[in-house]
Structures are given as structure tokens and as C-alpha cells.
């Protein structure tokens, strides 16, 4: 045993004295030094700096840091951008969508604030492949008669089956897609990072590592099939920290949309949540339908947006209580879209709010019906928080 070893308890070593170090540092580690030099001299890894910077700026703009103002992805865009979108074969279909596609490929900080009713960025195409790396957070992807494939270079690709609708929720370390309607088949490149890709359905997150799987959003539940690898299905909370049902391929199951509190028709290798409160296996009952605070007659789109703002404010205050005199506020853009018959089609928050706030807000808006009009979408930037 060397002199130094005598000072080596379990765990971290005892700090040496100056004299001990002087002696110890005379030791020669020639082979180690040689390999260290080789590591230093090894060519540096070539990174895609353009992509890294774009993602960084997107994350900053999306509110992961509040220093700079978020990019406004709304109409109107400049005629030049509009023209370039029309010329793009990747984003065809009708004019409004072409305009939205132009918004998608525009620089995150290049657009100006809207002066009239905005529209959500939408990518809609028939049997096309979209470059996921160029989609902005909040982009809505819709498929009609043909599937749409979205590829995120080196990370994942996913296919939205015909008639589906999905929204890109996050594009940073954790790539997250919110499935709003239909079926997604996903293939995820194995990475040394848990939950590098996830699909959200309601308040349920289906998070994966390297795997191939399918999520089919039904009325009251999401059906998950895992062909390869492993997925975790649980409450959509902090990315990377999903706890819940673990499905190892081949496996399948149906999970409620309230954070997968219930699972049914489990087949294959499925582990129930280890820490979740009383996971239930059995038929998935319809979850308690959210009831609007007060049933509303047909209202204008502007009035619906006003209701949405009020609902978001009340939910934010309720779900984000003031603690120790510290007031919390959040700035987000509320977006609302209605179907041709006036029903709420979707509600979006960009950047996203916490799942509980979003869920509460959606619940309060259930049942709201919009009177017939030409406009189908509207947006408003709001600051939510405690008011005194």
C-alpha cells in the first residue's frame, strides 16, 4: 500500500496535504500522458452548428428563457415569403396553408407582429415527407387522404396516418409531438438520453428511447403498440421524467388520457407504474367530461377568444398559486380554431403552459360554440398571473 493509499477512505479520498501531493505528483504516468495527448490531438467532432443554433434560438424564443421575445409566427407575412412558399412543392395545397408553410421556414426572429387575425402554422400535404428540423414549435401537421412523414434528422421519424392531426410541442433535447387526432407510427433513433422523443395524447405521455411504436388516439384512450424497444406511458409532466407503465416490445395496451391512470387490454411485457398512485387495470371508463363553467350560446370568434383568455387566467391562478409572496406570471400566445359548424377544433398555447393549466383551460372551454363566420382561427398574446 502506498503512502497515498493510506489516506484513502471509502468514497472520496481524503484530501492530501501539500507535502503528500508534492510527493504524489512526482509519479510518472507515461502511458496515460501519451493517450491523453492522443485524445487532445484527435480531430474534433463536426457538429451541425446551424442546427444547434437554430434549436437553441427556438428554445429561447419558446420561453425556456424569458430574455428575448418569442418569435411571432403569424400572418401576415411578407409577399416575398408568401411567393417563396407558393413556389415550394413541399408545402402545396391552398393558399392559406402555403402562407403558413412560408412561416414555417422563415427565420425564427425574422417575422413581424401581426396586424390582423393570425393563423397557426400548418403543414398539410399528401403523402409527403416534411423536414422536422425546419418545423417550428407549435406547428400543426395535418394529413388528409395520404400519410405525412416527418423526419427529424438523426433523431426520429414519425408518420401521421391519413386523417390525423398532430402538433409539434418541443424540439429541444426532448422532441415531443402532441397527437390531437388519429394515429402516429414512430421510429426513434436509439440515444443515450431517456425520452428523447415522446407523443402526448391528452395528459398522457408516451415516452420512448430507441424504439418503434404506434399511438392510436381514440375517443377516451390512446392505444399503444410497441414493436421494438421500450416506452413509458404516464402523466405528461416534466420531459425526461415520465413515470408510468413500461411496455417492452412486443407489447400493447390502452391507456386513459388523464396521465394513464388506467390501463386496459394489456398484452405482452407490461409493468405497472412503480410509484404512481394506484394504477388501475381494467376497462377505461369515460373520464369525467369537462364541463364549461357556464354553458354558452353561440358566440363570436372574438368572444370565444376572450373566454379562452379568461379561462386561461383563472386556471393559471388556480394551478400556480402565489408562494411566499412571489408572484408567478407567464406570457403565452393563445390560439383557437373552430370547425365549419362552429365547434372548437383545437386550442393551443405557445409556448406551452403546464399540463394542468392547459387541461383546466380546455375543460372550461368545452361546449363553447362559435357562431358562423368567415374566420376559423384567432390568436392573442396574453400575460397570465396573479393580479393584485
Amino acid at each position: 500500500m502506498t503512502k497515498q493509499d493510506q489516506h484513502r477512505p471509502q468514497g472520496e479520498e481524503e484530501v492530501m496535504s501539500e507535502e503528500q501531493l508534492a510527493e504524489a505528483e512526482r509519479a510518472s504516468f507515461a502511458a496515460l500522458d501519451r493517450v491523453s495527448r492522443e485524445v487532445q490531438d484527435a480531430p474534433e467532432m463536426e457538429l451541425d452548428w446551424e442546427r444547434v443554433e437554430a434549436r437553441l434560438m427556438t428554445r429561447i424564443a419558446a420561453g425556456e428563457s424569458g430574455r428575448f421575445e418569442a418569435p411571432v409566427v403569424q400572418l401576415p407575412v411578407s409577399p416575398a415569403a408568401n411567393d417563396s412558399a407558393r413556389q415550394s412543392s413541399r408545402y402545396r395545397t391552398w393558399t392559406a396553408l402555403a402562407v403558413a408553410a412560408a412561416v414555417l421556414v422563415a427565420g425564427a426572429f425574422a417575422l413581424k407582429r401581426p396586424t390582423e387575425a393570425p393563423k397557426a402554422p400548418v403543414a398539410q400535404a399528401g403523402s409527403e415527407t416534411l423536414d422536422g428540423d425546419r418545423l417550428e414549435i407549435g406547428s400543426l401537421i395535418q394529413s388528409e387522404a395520404s400519410p405525412v412523414v416527418v423526419k427529424h434528422s438523426g433523431r426520429a421519424s414519425w408518420t401521421l396516418a391519413p386523417g390525423g392531426r398532430a402538433r409539434l410541442v418541443s424540439t429541444g433535447r426532448y422532441l415531443t409531438v402532441r397527437l390531437e387526432q388519429g394515429v402516429i407510427d414512430a421510429s426513434v433513433v436509439p440515444r443515450n438520453l431517456p425520452e428523447s422523443f415522446a407523443i402526448q395524447a391528452g395528459e398522457t405521455r408516451i415516452a420512448v428511447r430507441g424504439t418503434e411504436f404506434r399511438v392510436d388516439l381514440r375517443e377516451q384512450h390512446a392505444k399503444v403498440n410497441v414493436d421494438h424497444g421500450t416506452v413509458v406511458v404516464g402523466l405528461a409532466g416534466e420531459p425526461g421524467e415520465t413515470d408510468g407503465w413500461v411496455l417492452r416490445a412486443p407489447a400493447s395496451g390502452e391507456f386513459s388520457l388523464d396521465g394513464a391512470k388506467r390501463g386496459a387490454n394489456l398484452e405482452g411485457n407490461v409493468d405497472a407504474p412503480a410509484v404512481a398512485a394506484e394504477p388501475v387495470v381494467g376497462p377505461i371508463e369515460p373520464t369525467s367530461k369537462p364541463v364549461p363553467a357556464k354553458p354558452t350560446a353561440n358566440v363570436s370568434l372574438d368572444a370565444a377568444l376572450e373566454q379562452l383568455s379568461a379561462a386561461a387566467q383563472s386556471c393559471f391562478v388556480k394551478e400556480t398559486p402565489e408562494v411566499g409572496g412571489v408572484r408567478v406570471s407567464a406570457s403565452t400566445q393563445l390560439k383557437i380554431a373552430v370547425t365549419a359548424d362552429g365547434k372548437l377544433d383545437w386550442i393551443a398555447f405557445e409556448p406551452p403552459l403546464s399540463p394542468s393549466v392547459e387541461s383546466c383551460t380546455r375543460a372550461q372551454m368545452a361546449g363553447v360554440k362559435v357562431s358562423a363566420g368567415s374566420a376559423r382561427e384567432a390568436a392573442r398574446r396574453v400575460t397570465l398571473g396573479q393580479r393584485h
Partner: protein
Amino acid sequence: MYQVADAQSPPPSWRNTSNALKDQGRVLVSSSTNRGRMTREAASNAAPSTMDESAELVRRVQRGDQAAFSALFSRHRGDVARLIQRMIGPHKNEVEDLVQDVFLQVHRSISDFRAEARFSTWLYRITVNVVLMNRRALKSRPKYTDEQQAAPAEDHAPLPDAQAARNQRVRAFYSLLEHLSEKKRQVFVLHELEGISPQEISEIVDAPVLTVRTRLFYARKELAELLLKEPCLAALASGFERSKRSRGESAGDE
């Protein structure tokens, strides 16, 4: 303020990095006889303009100048990426993600940065913490045994044997680094691979200098032992051992 090698911190191996760090003071010079050992002369020759430029960029970012943040990112991203790579290994996707995390943290916290500290030290401290947090998050996750981790991207072009062997040793060395405790790996990478002095490391990892030096010694000792267990590195180690013995015998003959 320039960082210099001083008598209080015996520098067993001040090393050069392939990219001279651009920030103030930490300019390591290449030399055929002494690989990157930093001298007072070199330190005094470090370009103050780069220091001023970084400081000016920081001031502008603190005033909300978005273009300055982009410039700061461009200036320091290579150093951050290199440090991350040396701490986690050559995993391109993870490195790219962590670089984002570091600069996101820089963006969040830069209003707290005070000019009396060196920006590079502050940046490295953030980098080390981000890597540490990432490792902790990974450790807290369940291990899935039915999945294979993506192998680092390799150049499939044919390589000369010597180069191929060197690449193999570098990969093996990164694997060995994983066997070190977090604290020892930090100081080893910062000192041996990045060429940062124990004094500055003590600021980065928030530990006394003697603690840093102790960790460094044990890190080197453990790695030297691990080298012998790794086939492609053991040959190198035994070669040095043979050479050392023959030198000893020669000296004994005389």
C-alpha cells in the same frame, strides 16, 4: 487577469488543446518540446483584445442585445462542445443537445454574471454543471437492457493502421473515463485534456485547490491502472514499462 502556471500548483502536464481557447488569458501555446505548457510569457502575450471582445459581448447581451448573444455563442461554442465531448465521449447528438443546454443556461443567467470573474471560467462552470445534471438524470432513469446505444459515428474511409490504432485507443480511453467518479473525471478532463490550472478548476468545481489536486492525482492513478486492463491500451502501457525498465537496467549497468 491572466491565468499563469505558478509554483503553488505543480503542473504535471499543461497540455495544449487543438483549439487555443479564445477567451482571455487561457491561451495555450504549442511547442514541440513542451506540448502546450503555459508560461508566464505566453500568458502575458495573450491577446487582450479577445478578452475585451468577450467582455463587451457579455455587456451587450446583458443589455438584451440578441445579436451579441449569437456572437457570444459562435465565439465559445467550440470550446464548450469540446469540453462536453471530453466529459461524455464522442456522442454527437448528446453533445449537440448539451451545447444547447449550456447556452440556454448562459442566456438565463447572464444577467447574474459579474465582470470580476472570467467569462470562460463562468462558462466552464455552467458546462460542468450541465453535464453533471445530465448524468444524474441518466442515472436516475431505469436501464433498458433490450436496447442498444447508438455507436458514435465513425469515418468509414480506410485509415492507415497507425491512425486506426490511435482512433481505437482514443475510443477506449473515453470508455475508461466512464469508470472514474464524476468529481475525478471533471478535474482530469479540465486539467489534463483542457489544460486548466488547479486554481481555476477549483473555481469551476467549487472545491479547494488541494481537493482538486488530490482528485487529480487519484484520477491519474486509477486511469493508469485501468489502462492495463484495456487490451488496446495495455500494449502501450507495457511498452512504456519495458522502456522504463530497460532505462533502469542501463543505468544499473553503468
